[in-house]
Symmetry: C2
Subunit: 203 residues, 2 copies
Amino acid sequence: MKMDGKTMGRPRTPEREAKIRRVLSFRQHDLTLVMANIHDPHNVSAIYRSCDAFGVAKVHLFYTTTAFPHLGEKSSASARKWVESERHKTAEELMAALRAKNMRVYATSCSPSAKPVGEYDLAGPAAIIMGNEHSGVDPELLPLVDGELYIPMYGMIQSFNVSVAAALILGEASRQRLLAGKYDLPTCAPEELDANVQAWLKR
Amino acid sequence: MKMDGKTMGRPRTPEREAKIRRVLSFRQHDLTLVMANIHDPHNVSAIYRSCDAFGVAKVHLFYTTTAFPHLGEKSSASARKWVESERHKTAEELMAALRAKNMRVYATSCSPSAKPVGEYDLAGPAAIIMGNEHSGVDPELLPLVDGELYIPMYGMIQSFNVSVAAALILGEASRQRLLAGKYDLPTCAPEELDANVQAWLKR
């Protein structure tokens, strides 16, 4: 149902505007994930879905050795519509973008110096780099980060699927942020929120 | 490499025995998940993997309206080898098995009476029922549980994939149990642990 020339297929109801405003109010502009050469489209789609769910406003894409996968039109890929993406061609460009937002940058890792995710403050400005399914986070990024983190595991199988790991890390960040009251007030200016509501109504 | 007639394809090295003993020591005999008519084999495999990772010793299978899916031989399905499964044909049989272990039983739900997962004590004996991808937890089970829980979400998309939801709930249980020291000592008797080590060495 098309209500006017500007909406794209979705009715501009008060309920929809209220939902969009609420979701935009929850968006955490100081929490992000970096997808670094993650190649499986199901994993990329699932990560977008978790980012949307936990309020990540924008993800950063670092594809230097792998092509960004084709995500298709499945409903599971639709979360991508609600999470901004910023691409970076070099490690320096990526880090400069994160540092410009005063973010602490962490990489998932199983090196001996990595610490459990729960020991990091993820309620403050933070970016977490998730690496390729087989090779992990690119070695060129590791010397540039502020810390390496892992999810404590107690089983026979030694690794998580990358999209499950991303969900668990964002879940921990969300838990910390809920306690810190970071979903109580919008993290962007009122006029920016208003502009974003109007933009999202057209999506 | 076959070391003797009893091992099945895997060498019986001291390292392997130590790993098995460590994993069995971490097993949480008072935490379980119920898979209730979950039909997608990828979801079932992923849930087994998360159960293994967070130390769930045994899962309960409640398949009354859906056939238990064929999981195939992929490596992602291998976690099933390390997590026991118990099947139940009726709601009464399922609940009796859980009550016999003094477990509090929770269902995932988005009903108005559901509470956030973090408000429940999951360090004590607990079973969480995860329902079918489309229809959720079976209505016949809901009146029998001690509480309904949900994972707080802040996005446009209103649900998690069931395997991601299971991982997030087990991650919260694991976080509570780590704080409570429940991975510090085996939750079964020493002779049972020894017997299980010998049994697992043959898997």
